[in-house]
Symmetry: C2
DNA sequence: GACAAAGAAGACCTAGAGAGTCTATATTGT
DNA sequence: ACAATATAGACTCTCTAGGTCTTCTTTGTC
């Protein structure tokens, strides 16, 4: 019932991209440096974000990543589901009787279904832009500090 | 970001106890049988529920468990936090800079804090009684079926 | 008092997930 | 041609979740 590093890093990477000048392409290594993400770890995450259509990749020299959508139209729920899994609180809600033999007489299932709906609705309303906006200078500042060091 | 078996079993066990006649004491093995919970697994969960003051244990022959509170005053959030951990969506919210060096310039933290609040508020409003009520007959039926089999 | 039936406590095992690191390959701008 | 870059995936390590079982202690009942 908690969110792991993949999502954390993904949100930070996307926020960072959202804070760049339009059209700017940033390399994996740069994002990692600026956002204090372990080296190379981002490669796997970015792959998912590209596959999910949230960012655009540019292979080759001077390549890198840029957002593929408006930051206002990328929700935290999108990010979560893209880099991790469908937003599901209890596995039976996704896998049914596969996961639980008690399914047919269960009465708590609907509780989790509703809780999940509440959460999904909330996270669906927050966008990367909501995070990047407030980050703005801060994010870039950290970047230059690290580059300087 | 999903709920595991411990919570599932705990909720079922508590609901089952709530559905018993007042004062009835049920053994671990019986709960396991009636609720289709793996043998012995409940012992560890019940320990936590006892320690958390949600159920009362009765050692010795003819011993077992019974609720220590009204089923209306046990929330799903209580159960979760008793058998698993504090309801926290992002670890930094609990462990601070211990967990994340980026904490000081982070802007997504507050998002998770709010999401967590929304979820906690929802789960805090659902009680074991809400689940047990609807279970009633069903729960006991499964029990007798399994005993017969 | 003896005995059986419970919980308490905790050791033990296994599979898989999460996090992180690195390399080999394909692609592309200069 | 070369350097820089994404892509793909192998690899390791540690921790957790889930499950099983054993030993000890307590207690009701005969
Ligand atoms: S008992 Fe109910 S809530 Fe639990 S896994 Fe089965 S169907 Fe889902
Ligand atoms: S970056 Fe922000 S949200 Fe992520 S762990 Fe650090 S403080 Fe928490």
């Amino acid at each position: 019932m908690n969110v792991g590093r993949r999502v954390d890093y993904a949100v930070r990477a996307l926020s960072f991209l959202a804070g760049q000048p339009a059209g700017k392409i940033v390399s994996r290594a740069d994002i990692e440096k600026c956002q204090d993400i372990p080296s190379f770890y981002l490669s796997k995450i970015m792959k998912d974000l590209v596959a999910g259509g949230l960012v655009q990749s540019h292979i080759g020299s001077k390549g890198g990543f840029s957002l593929a959508k408006l930051p206002t139209s990328i929700s935290i729920k999108d990010v979560y589901e893209t880099v991790e899994r469908p937003l599901v609180l209890m596995d039976c809600l996704e896998r049914g009787a596969d996961y639980c033999s008690y399914c047919s007489v269960c009465t708590q299932k609907s509780i989790w279904e509703e809780a999940q709906k509440v959460l999904a609705e909330f996270l669906g309303r927050i966008s990367i832009n909501d995070i990047a906006d407030r980050q703005g200078l801060k994010g870039r500042l950290v970047g230059s500090l690290q580059k300087a060091g």
